[in-house]
């Protein structure tokens, strides 16, 4: 049998990773909730952001955590521009075309990354990556704590933004009633792009939080987008709370799965959850709400 303290430690570790999963999923769920499309470019945009973090670190010596505002802002602009000038323009408002365009964008980004950065892994090393706090049952390192705290703070800030500001209200309005939004004078194309931009900014932030722990390669996006997709399906497509809680559930599942069944078999738990949710509760835990 396992010692309860080992299980508790595993849960705590899972929560730390889960917070980043939430953040990546938040971007995906926001874009889905507003544009009603699954952004297939989500993984490759995350990968691109991680290379951005690495570039700032390697070329300018900027600490990945300090780079967060910069990378997030850059990612917002990238997402805004991508939606406004590529995805929105080419799709003519037809959802099935948007889907294919995001897929095309992701293929292009991946190939550019493969060409520009080669398949070699890049590492971002922070000098304090083994510092941390000892909780007694487990030792939490700075990258874990930073990821947890920053992810929660960003989620809370985003929630306040969506709930309180006029732009946030316009986002919610467009999500459920585009025609009504147009009639009160909302520029729907702009709001689409803002939502895509925010979704991408979440990836920018996540990239900064992931970079100190994960070696960067052109395929890195896949790992996280698969998890993010599971989180979104688990939490409920378009649900904010769902993304947050779903991220934690997946993080803990992965961690406990690793503990009981070993690294690789543990990951099967995520796929298992995915299939079970689709079978028994296709709307996810929190339905589709925003």
């Amino acid at each position: 049998m396992y010692d309860p303290s080992i299980i508790a430690a595993s849960i705590i570790n899972g929560l730390m990773t889960g917070a980043i999963y939430s953040l990546v999923a938040l971007g995906l769920t926001l874009i889905y909730g507003v544009l009603h499309i699954i952004n297939f470019a989500h993984g490759s945009l995350l990968m691109l952001c991680m290379y951005g973090v690495w570039f700032l670190y390697a070329q300018a010596g900027i600490d990945p955590y300090l780079a967060l505002p910069l990378v997030a802002a850059g990612a917002f602009c990238l997402g805004y521009g991508l939606q406004r000038s590529v995805i929105g323009k080419t799709s003519h408002g037809r959802d099935e075309i948007i889907l294919l365009v995001t897929l095309g964008v992701s293929i292009i980004i991946e190939n550019i990354a493969l060409f520009a950065f080669t398949a070699n892994e890049r590492v971002v090393q922070v000098p304090y990556d083994i510092d941390g706090i000892d909780l007694g049952i487990t030792f939490l390192v700075v990258p874990q704590i930073a990821a947890f705290v920053a992810s929660l703070a960003i989620t809370a800030a985003l929630w306040l933004f969506i709930a309180r500001t006029y732009t946030g209200k316009a986002i919610r309005a467009v999500a459920k009633e585009r025609q009504g939004a147009r009639l009160v004078g909302v520029n729907v194309d702009h709001i689409f792009a803002v939502s895509f931009g925010i979704g991408t900014a979440c990836l920018g932030a996540a990239a900064c939080l992931l970079a100190p722990t994960f070696p960067i390669s052109p395929q890195i996006g896949y790992i996280f987008v698969l998890i993010a997709f599971t989180v979104v399906v688990l939490g409920g497509m378009g649900s904010f709370v769902g993304a947050l809680i779903g991220g934690f559930i997946i993080g803990v599942t992965e961690s406990l799965g690793g503990l009981f069944f070993g690294e690789s078999l543990g990951k099967l738990g995520i796929s298992l959850i995915f299939i079970l949710i689709l079978l028994f509760r296709p709307t996810g835990l929190f339905g589709q709400r925003m």
Partner: protein, 233 residues
């Protein structure tokens, strides 16, 4: 105030309006009548800028706004209460009202919410309820309340009495009468031919995308042809 000149409009290849001309003067209530599918909503949406007309002109207070975007028409004060309400179901009544002031009168939104709460006490009681959980009649009131938040100069009402109980229909017409008395210009699309002509200054009858009849409301009310085709008399 509003002049529509020879508007040709439709969807894709299909023409729905074949050269419609119509005026709304300052402070006037103009009734737009016509059977289902005549093109009334199409006309409204081409005025509001949801769609771009194929040909013809829309002039508002002397300014050519043909093919302008809805942001522009809203900025100018052309506010439409669309058919089917189109309130934001996932947002509270208060947030719905606030969205009405997205582009206009934002600074006065708190006073305007109070004013609208006075007009619609039922809405005021449910200010924190999600709009999607309101009854149909309450949603209609909310849609009108939302439009008033923008302090409209021209209000376009597309079948405001649709789906309301007889009592609420009476209330609706009383409200339109009141807004008229306050000096608002209104383009009123309605199926209640008699009631709308009774409060309108003038009326137009749209048939198959053309103006079949127009004139002072009192004349239209007397018209034999209109009575026969719309009232079955």
């Amino acid at each position: 105030m509003l002049e529509v000149r020879d508007m040709v409009a439709g969807y894709g290849e299909v023409k729905v309006l074949h050269g419609v001309s119509l005026d709304v003067g300052p402070g006037e209530v103009v009734a737009l009548l016509g059977s289902n599918g005549a093109g009334k909503s199409t006309l409204n949406n081409n005025i509001s800028g949801i769609f771009r007309p194929f040909a013809g002109m829309v002039i508002f207070e002397g300014q050519d706004i043909s093919g302008a975007r809805p942001e522009t028409t809203v900025d100018l004060g052309i506010i439409q209460v669309p058919e089917g309400r189109r309130v934001f179901p996932n947002m509270s009544v208060r947030d719905n009202l606030e969205m009405g002031a997205y582009r206009r009168a934002r600074a006065r939104r708190t006073q305007n919410i109070d004013r609208i709460a006075g007009i619609f006490p039922r809405i005021a009681e449910r200010i924190d309820q999600l709009a999607g959980t309101l009854s149909g009649g309450e949603q209609q009131m909310l849609a009108i309340g939302r439009s008033l938040m923008a302090e409209p100069r021209l209000l376009i009402l597309d079948e405001p009495s649709l789906g309301l109980s007889p009592l609420l229909v009476e209330e609706m017409f009383a409200l339109i009468h009141q807004l008229h008395a306050d000096g608002l210009s209104i383009l009123l699309v309605e199926q209640n031919v008699v009631q709308s002509l009774e409060i309108a200054n003038r009326g137009y009858v749209l048939e198959n995308g053309k103006v079949a009849m127009s004139g002072p409301a009192s004349n239209l009310l007397q018209d034999e042809g209109l009575r026969r085709s719309y009232l079955g008399m």
